[in-house]
Structures are given as structure tokens and as C-alpha cells.
Symmetry: C2
Subunit: 348 residues, 2 copies
């Protein structure tokens, strides 16, 4: 594969780690990164170490609402914090527009922004399309409804020449990809069961957006109530569960994305898992099981298991960049539109 | 995905089953099939049931050498046998040319011919290229050296507009795809171990080509010596092992294909397995383990396991048609060339 240049929108946990992982990927060159108040662009490749050091424990935000704060994982706020603190960066009031201005020379953009409103990321995509961006956009969202919003904009994205991959992180990205592959033994898939274990080494403090997003899936909560919680309320909830939150029948984009790829009906997909906020160890092994019927009438189950020592971060960022690379191949050939990760796998 | 029309070259075990599996795939329409002496074409879709019934236990060949016979899995020979026995077919002396003549209306061709000579399938591909075929060719080979021969012809294939996927069956296809996906947690892959179990319900009699190809991997055998064996010699060898052949450190295309996809060095891939010719049950569980290091310095192993009740046939034909569909997407976008299955997965 030829060299691929990419930008990262947002330098919270996912954005920072994507930059870090890209250091191990020869053909991937990060050329731009931004947060709310700063933008760094170097078409010869950013100095990732410098940028990470400058933004470590130093994530810029607008210092706004408690909800925005907690979703963004803010530690410090202000116009001279975050990306702007890097010697490679400039302060800006219009970070996304600044990246769009440079996008002729950017093959792909990883959108690692907190999705404050449901349609925030779809609207970001729209702005790239309005600027006639021809390239790849990737997000790592987990919300089913965002996919519909992207579909509504598919024609606009196609006209611009955008290949959009939605939900390309660990879940749904990695695990629906595994389900799509595991389905290949079968002519009919009866059931897909996705069960994840996450031990967040870095705890709630460093993963506010993720934890809040997960809490929305607990019984009695939804995205709105989870977003309205204060940090103290979340800490109390976590305490109440001794740091271990268990989820069943989560409303997760996996079901929609597997149905989209034609693998099974959304209702045949169950997603659950265990999040331990006090231990490095995964509380349970992340497992994807796909049960189906073969063409010769046997019913069987194929299984994909992630090693317990692979962190959530590794399982988000590897696949996000992996799908990004696959999407660049499609994009260069002129294959535009909105794709779930499973649609980039062998067809079912 | 739009409707995809496809042809099958060869109606031995793999070709017949691909036709059968395609009955469960709405968007796949088989429009042509051939063997040595017959060709059936119907651009509105073949009647698969009739064709399968006509060719069941009735595979045409030239009635030639013992080697050709056993690789082809012949049961009957002669010009009115095999595909020609179908009411949809005509006898022919030039089956492949006949398919090429119709190929403007064929999106993809599954090459399920016994690879009598190493370069037989590459030469078939060349014939399609010479006719300016624009479409997909897929084979299910397992021999590393064939891939180099296809690479030698890559420019010719690209000029014609061909997207060629090599080795798209169970191994290397399905299992290298699984390895490529499992690698996504890691920034460096240390080891890929592919271990397969096959219980051939239908025994040696129905799977001569496969069994002979596998015997070539036993200690003291190679492709040439395995090909030179008579059926009686193979039966004797099988008897000697009580029907169970165990293989270690097989020279298998998996290693070359994973290196090609940039996932690891060929030497980091080990392939082995157990073939039981007397039992339906798999003698061991087919497992792919991928051990690597994450960006955050952890070493772990991801695992993909096929359910014991999935037959070899299901695990060859599902992926072959799955990769065929993925390749059609690439081909329609204008992405031509030679691909290993792992290259159609998320990038590493």
C-alpha cells in the first residue's frame, strides 16, 4: 500500500492513542491533529512524541457545561492548553475548518471527538462534504442512531467522494468484523453473541466519555440521563457496584451494523459485557460467538476470543486504523458512501 | 450489493458445492458452469438442482492418466458424462473458451479446477486477460508457488481489469483472514499458528484431489511424489495410518499470504492439522492463534475457533463466495490485481 496521510480530530484518549499506534505503522503518516483550541499541521508528518507530551494530562476544552466537561475527559481548560501547547500547533477558534482547509493533502480523517449531540459527527462529516473533501472519514461511535443519520447524508458524502466507516473501534468495529468473518461457515446465522470484558487500567478519571457512554446502557439509564449525571453521581454509581458494571442486552450499534451487512437480523444479536474500573485485569474474556447453519444442514458455533492482556485501547485503535487503511483502498478506487465495519469484510 | 453473476470452472466437489451454497445467497446468480466436456450457460441463472443432479457421481474427465484421474475425482468419464449430461448444457471441446466467450455478462469466475500443473490456473487467468475480461477470478488453491506465478502476471491481469483472489477457500482463505483480523489488537505479530481438523464425511473416494494435495505435505512426500501415487498406494498409506493423517509444519500458502499482507514474516507462521478419513467427527478443533504485542507493550494471544460441526465443505465454499463478493466490490470500483484473502481484510 502507498503512504497514507491522516488527521485526528480530537486528542482525548482515542485520538492520542491513535497517534501513538500510528508510530508503529510505516505507511501511516499523521499530518494533522486538533482539539477545541489548537490545530497542528505538518504535511511531512507530525512529531507525535512532542505532540503527545504536550497534550498529556492536558486536554483542551471550552470549560463549558459539566456534561461537556465529563464527556470530553477534560483535565485542564483554556486556550493555551491541549494541542495549542505543542510547538507544532497554533491556537485557533475554528479547528475543524482549519483541518478541512488542509484536507486536499489528507487521505483519511479519524474523528475522535466526543459526540456531544447525536448528530454532531454526522454534521462534521457534512462539513467535509460541503468542502468537496475526497477521502476517508472514520469514527469509533457505538450509537445505533448515528448510523441512520449518516445514511441520511450518504448521497452528499458520495457526491463529495467520501468513504465513511462508522463504528470502527473495538465495539462495534473489531467485534462485528469478527462476527462477519465467523459467519462465513454458514448460510444462515441464528445468533451472534458479543460479550466483552474491559479492565480500565486508567480508571474513570481517564475514560469519562467511554464510561458515561456505557452507563447509558445500564438498566434504568439512557444516553440523556447518563449525560446529565455529575461526575460525583457517576463515582457514586461506580462505588455502589464496587467498581464493576455488568451490562446485558445493550442497545449497541453491533446489531444494526450486522443487519446492514446482511449477516443476520438485528434482533439476533446480543451484546453485553463487564467493565471493571478498579482493576487492570479484564473481568471476563471478550468473546464473539456466531451460531448458524451450514449449507449441509449442521448447526455449529464459531468463536473469536481476544487475549485478556489486550487492552481496550489496543482493541480500539488497531482496528480503527486497520479499517481506515481498508477504507483508503476503497476510496482511492472510487468506492464512496457509508460503510459499517462488517461491510468491509468478505461478503455474506 | 447489486446482483452478482458468476461462473464455476470445474464441477468436482468444490464447484458443485459452490453452486449449492449459492442457492442460499440471494444476490449471487450462477450463470455458467463447465467441466472438461460440457458447458452450461444461462444468463438468467442456471437451474442448480438439475445441474447438480445431472453431475452427481458423474464427473467428466478425459479418462487420461491415473494422476489426472485421481486429482479430478473422476467417477465416470466420457463426452456425454458430467456437465454435458445436464439438459442445460452442450458438449464442448473448449469449455474454458466457451465461458470466456460469455464473460462480458459474468461478474466473477470461481476457478475450481484441479491444478494439474503448477501454472495451470495462472494460465487460465491469462486466457481471461487475453480476452480482455473485466471481472473477478477466484481460486481456492493452497500452493505457495502459484501465488508467485500469479504475481508474475499481475500487470496483464490489471490491464485487463481483473481482480484475482488466490487461495480463497478454508485454508489459506478463511483462516488467514481470521489471522489478519486477530492481528488487529497488535502492532507486532510474533506468531501465527494455524491448526486444522478435518473429518471427511465422504472419505477418500469423494475427495481425491484434496487428500492427494495433503499427502504432499507429509514427511517424505512432495507434490510430485503425491501426484505419482496410484489410488491403491494412497489407500495403503491411509490404511497404514488407520485413516488419520497428521501434518506438522506444512508448506502452505498461509505463510506467504500473511507476509504479503504485511502481517508477519512467513517464517512466523506454522500450519498443521489432522485429517481423519474414516470419521465424520473432526479429529481436532480448527484453531487460529495469533500472538503479538500491543502498542502498550502487552503480549497476548487472540484465538479463532471453528465449531467442530462445520464441515470442510462449508468452510471452503462460504469463504470462497464471501471473498468473491468482496472482490466484486473492489472490481466494480476499478481496483484490479492479485490479492491474497488477508489483503481484503482491515489493513495491518
Amino acid at each position: 500500500m502507498h503512504e497514507t496521510t491522516f488527521a485526528v480530530l480530537g486528542t482525548g484518549g482515542i485520538g492520542r492513542r491513535a497517534l501513538e499506534v500510528s508510530k508503529d505503522k510505516e505507511e501511516l503518516t499523521p499530518v494533522a491533529a486538533c482539539d477545541r483550541h489548537g490545530v497542528a499541521v505538518d504535511h511531512d508528518g507530525l512529531d507525535v512524541d512532542e505532540l503527545l507530551a504536550a497534550t498529556e494530562g492536558n486536554i483542551a476544552s471550552d470549560g463549558g457545561t459539566a456534561a461537556a466537561k465529563s464527556e470530553g475527559g477534560i483535565k485542564q481548560a483554556g486556550t493555551d492548553k491541549g494541542v495549542a501547547a505543542s510547538v507544532q500547533a497554533d491556537p485557533t477558534e475554528t479547528p475543524i475548518d482549519d483541518i478541512i482547509d488542509e484536507s486536499d493533502a489528507i487521505d483519511a480523517v479519524l474523528i475522535a471527538l466526543p459526540n456531544l449531540e447525536h448528530d454532531f459527527i454526522p454534521r462534521v462529516a457534512e462539513r467535509f462534504a460541503e468542502a468537496d473533501y475526497e477521502g476517508v472519514l472514520v469514527d469509533v461511535l457505538k450509537r445505533s442512531r448515528v448510523i441512520g443519520m449518516l445514511d441520511d447524508r450518504e448521497e452528499t458524502l458520495q457526491d463529495s467522494g467520501i468513504t465513511f466507516v462508522c463504528g470502527a473501534g473495538a465495539t462495534p468495529g473489531f467485534l462485528t468484523g469478527a462476527a462477519a468473518l465467523a459467519a462465513q461457515s454458514f448460510v444462515e446465522v441464528h445468533e451472534v453473541d458479543i460479550w466483552w470484558g474491559v479492565g480500565l487500567k486508567s480508571g474513570y478519571e481517564d475514560n469519562r466519555g467511554t464510561v458515561r457512554e456505557d452507563i447509558a446502557h445500564l438498566d434504568g439509564y439512557d444516553i440523556e440521563t447518563a449525560r446529565a449525571m455529575t461526575d460525583e453521581e457517576i463515582e457514586a454509581l461506580v462505588d455502589e457496584h464496587d467498581g464493576v458494571l455488568e451490562f446485558h442486552d445493550m442497545e449497541h450499534a453491533d446489531d444494526v451494523l450486522l443487519e446492514r451487512a446482511g449477516i443476520c437480523d438485528a434482533e439476533d444479536v446480543t451484546v453485553g459485557g463487564v467493565l471493571d474500573l478498579r482493576n487492570d485485569e479484564k473481568p471476563t474474556t471478550t468473546t464473539v460467538t456466531v451460531t448458524g447453519e451450514t449449507f449441509d444442514g449442521e448447526v455449529a458455533t464459531n468463536t473469536f476470543e481476544l487475549g485478556d492482556d489486550t487492552s481496550m485501547e489496543a482493541n480500539v485503535n488497531g482496528p480503527a486504523l486497520g479499517y481506515l487503511k481498508a477504507a483508503v483502498r476503497h476510496n482511492r478506487a472510487g468506492d464512496y458512501g457509508v460503510f459499517g465495519p462488517a461491510e468491509l469484510m468478505p461478503g455474506f
